[in-house]
């Protein structure tokens, strides 16, 4: 499979004020081949949407490079980027908000063709009908405005607009998350069907793991702006080498009563992305975290062919030897709070004594 999109060292920081910034994306790299679907998974705030928007240059990355079809599009001026737009498309999370309320289906879906140029009215009309048929819309929808469509129809119009120019890559930014279950399945079917027919590559951004599993060839899991694990769908769903991935996947509920649940939960919530330290982002929530995990951010290591994980202790983790290094203490304060304890007394003076586990002499000594 030849390479279509290469993202290298992508960083996006949103400044808050002079000293603080939100590190939405930290050093993210991946490759998407032609006709391939990469599922980008993570909870809210993990930076997955920001990655998609950086690729499309809807926002400017702070650092890093994006190559599209062998061309570096990171610093391309707008005038040179526009002719490439029809090959690189986006489907939005909110179907209704992404459609111009004053333009009907025909105007919306035909616009990319008009901007691309080089097609006669006849050709455009043919392509329009062909594309609408692909997303199961008909002539009767052509004159309708977004508010006259159902949510599913709106999203299919959004998809039609994205694929009408037969792009090489479509970024799907949570295309199903605002739709109900039946519609969700329908949209996913449409997407898979389109890929078979047009050979489009997808970057499928979602927190819906079942959806990701059903459409992706490969999956990358993001946590706090970093990819913590990536590999083929079988590899990721087969065995996780990163504690976060395991926790995430163990939270999937399959509609199958015979399937055994193996609960693996993390304590606390996703920490703040403001001025993060150079350390493993999961430290503090991680059941196998060691003080040494705070020395630097773990790099992605190849744990098996084509399968990468960013955990210092993946060997111990996967062999089951590294469980419960720091078992949760009964009545202990919120881990996100205790994470500060003993480390930054000036900022959280009250917490120091509250959590003996985290202020143990060993911890201090090691630092």
């Amino acid at each position: 499979m030849s390479e279509l999109l290469r993202v290298e060292g992508l960083v996006k920081h949103f400044p808050l004020d002079r000293h603080r910034y939100v590190a939405a994306v930290n050093d993210v790299s991946f490759v998407i081949g032609r006709g391939e679907t990469l599922g980008l998974v993570g909870e809210s705030g993990s930076g997955k949407t920001t990655v998609g928007r950086c690729i499309l240059r809807l926002i400017e990355p702070t650092a890093g490079r994006v190559w599209f079809d062998g061309r570096d599009i990171t610093s391309l001026p707008d005038e040179q980027l526009r002719p490439l737009r029809h090959r690189l498309q986006l489907v939005f999370q909110e179907p209704f908000a992404s459609l111009n309320p004053r333009r009907n289906v025909r105007q919306t879906v035909e616009e990319p063709l008009l901007l691309q140029g080089g097609m006669s009215a006849r050709q455009r009309s043919d392509r329009l009908r062909e594309t609408l048929a692909l997303v199961h819309l008909g002539d009767r929808h052509l004159g309708r405005y977004p508010n006259q469509l159902t949510a599913s129809e709106q999203q299919r119009v959004g998809i039609a607009r994205a694929i009408v120019t037969h792009p090489d890559l479509v970024v799907l930014d949570e295309p199903t998350s605002s739709l109900d279950q039946t519609v969700r399945a329908e949209i996913l079917d449409v997407l898979v069907d389109l890929q078979d027919r047009l050979g489009t590559a997808y970057l499928f951004i979602s927190h819906d793991l079942t959806a990701v599993e059903s459409v992706s060839h490969r999956i990358a899991i993001m946590y706090l702006g970093r990819i913590v694990e990536s590999g083929s769908t079988q590899q990721i769903f087969g065995r996780q080498y990163h504690p976060y991935s395991r926790a995430l996947l163990s939270a999937v509920l399959y509609p199958d009563p015979r399937r055994k649940l193996e609960p693996f939960t993390l304590r606390g919530e996703i920490p703040s992305a403001i001025n993060p330290r150079d350390e493993c982002a999961l430290y503090g929530r991680c059941p196998i975290g060691l003080p040494s995990c705070t020395e630097s951010a773990p790099p992605l290591e190849e744990v098996e062919a084509g399968h990468f994980a960013a955990c210092f202790r993946w060997r111990e983790f996967v062999s089951g030897k590294a469980t419960a290094v720091t078992p949760p203490v009964e009545g202990a304060p919120h881990p996100a709070v205790s994470r500060w304890a003993g480390r930054d007394p000036a900022r959280r003076p009250g917490d120091k004594a509250a959590d003996p586990e985290w202020c143990s002499p060993v911890t201090k000594q090691e630092r």
Partner: protein
């Protein structure tokens, strides 16, 4: 095909036309006040076009013998100081006032709206120069708006001379910032909508996004503002004439009619001033209400409701029927 259906359903006879109009009124859910305002609005437009022709007496010919006659059967609203029939002049006056106000407001919109799009779209733009353009427009506006509108218009007319062209220019100039600010505000809010990003993704340039995608969505508040501004432009024109910086007599114009009659109020001849004054009030009010109505009907949601007969359930049923049909078509 839907279009053909509509064409066939077009009313052919006059009664069918009336019935269609009645349906439209019901579909638009107009309040009684709005109906009244629309009727008066139609009358004003009619007078602006044909007023001088239907006036029973000449509108610009003085007759000293008929000076300051009280309202009577012959002169419904009496006569003014020059012996001209007030009713006739009242019918003719909207042509002057409405013409000046509409042309001036049109000019304000033509200049203000595009500048508003640019100012709004480029404000805080990552490109320094674009951002400066937006900022520059707004600061210039602050200077213009620092002057009271009426005084400013008066000064402009005083400098350039009191003729129709200069009055139009002055009224247009002082009203332009209103539209600029309005459109800028709308664009500022619209440019962060996902559909604006969608427009960028499919390959629109900055200006295309601003004018093709954002400006049409700023239309409802713009139409409301246009109508209100026309009302106030009429008031401004009349005001300029009232202080003598506008249309001079004998041209029938509400402001100079009120002004001429004002000095006779204390001597008991109230009619030369009162009737043009009431007419002015009604006109300003009507334009305000009509603007609100049209703005409401221009909202995309309003249109959908009307096309579905105003019944939400019908829309839902239609959607379900479509989906069922689709499923059958697919499988």
């Amino acid at each position: 095909m839907r279009e053909i259906d509509i064409a066939e359903a077009r009313p052919r006879s006059r009664t069918a036309g009336l019935a269609a109009a009645a349906r439209l009124v019901r579909g638009a859910r107009l309040s009684p006040l709005e109906v009244v305002a629309l009727v008066i609005f139609a009358v004003i437009l009619f007078l602006a076009l044909f007023g001088p022709r239907i006036a029973p007496y000449p509108t610009e010919t003085a007759n000293p013998l008929l000076r300051l006659l009280a309202p009577s059967r012959a002169h419904l609203l009496g006569t003014d100081v020059n012996g001209m029939d007030i009713w006739s002049r009242l019918l003719a006056a909207p042509r002057t006032d409405v013409f000046i106000a509409v042309v001036a407001t049109g000019l304000s919109v033509l200049v203000g709206a595009p500048l508003g799009v640019i100012a709004g779209y480029f404000e805080g733009n990552r490109r320094r120069l674009s951002s400066l353009v937006g900022e520059g427009i707004m600061r210039l506006l602050d200077v213009i708006q620092a002057f009271p509108v009426f005084i400013f218009a008066m000064v402009l007319v005083a400098i350039r001379g009191a003729n129709v062209v200069n009055i139009v220019a002055a009224v247009a100039f002082v009203n332009m910032p209103v539209f600029l600010r309005l459109v800028r505000g709308e664009v500022l809010q619209l440019r962060d909508q996902p559909f604006a990003e969608a427009a960028r993704v499919v390959g629109n340039s900055d200006l295309q996004i601003g004018f093709k995608h954002l400006l049409p969505n700023a239309l409802p508040p713009l139409v409301v503002q246009i109508s209100v501004t026309v009302g106030f432009a009429i008031l401004l024109t009349a005001g300029l004439s009232f202080v003598g910086a506008g249309i001079a007599p004998p041209t029938p114009e509400l402001g100079n009619m009120i002004s001429e009659g004002a000095k006779f109020m204390i001597t008991g001849q109230w009619w030369p001033s009162l009737f043009p004054g009431i007419a002015l009030g009604i006109i300003v009010f009507t334009f305000g209400v009509v603007g609100e109505t049209v703005g409401r009907l221009l909202q995309p949601g309003g249109r959908a409701a009307r096309e579905r007969g105003g019944d939400l359930n019908v829309g839902a049923q239609q959607a379900v029927a479509d989906m069922v049909q689709e499923k059958r078509g697919v499988s």
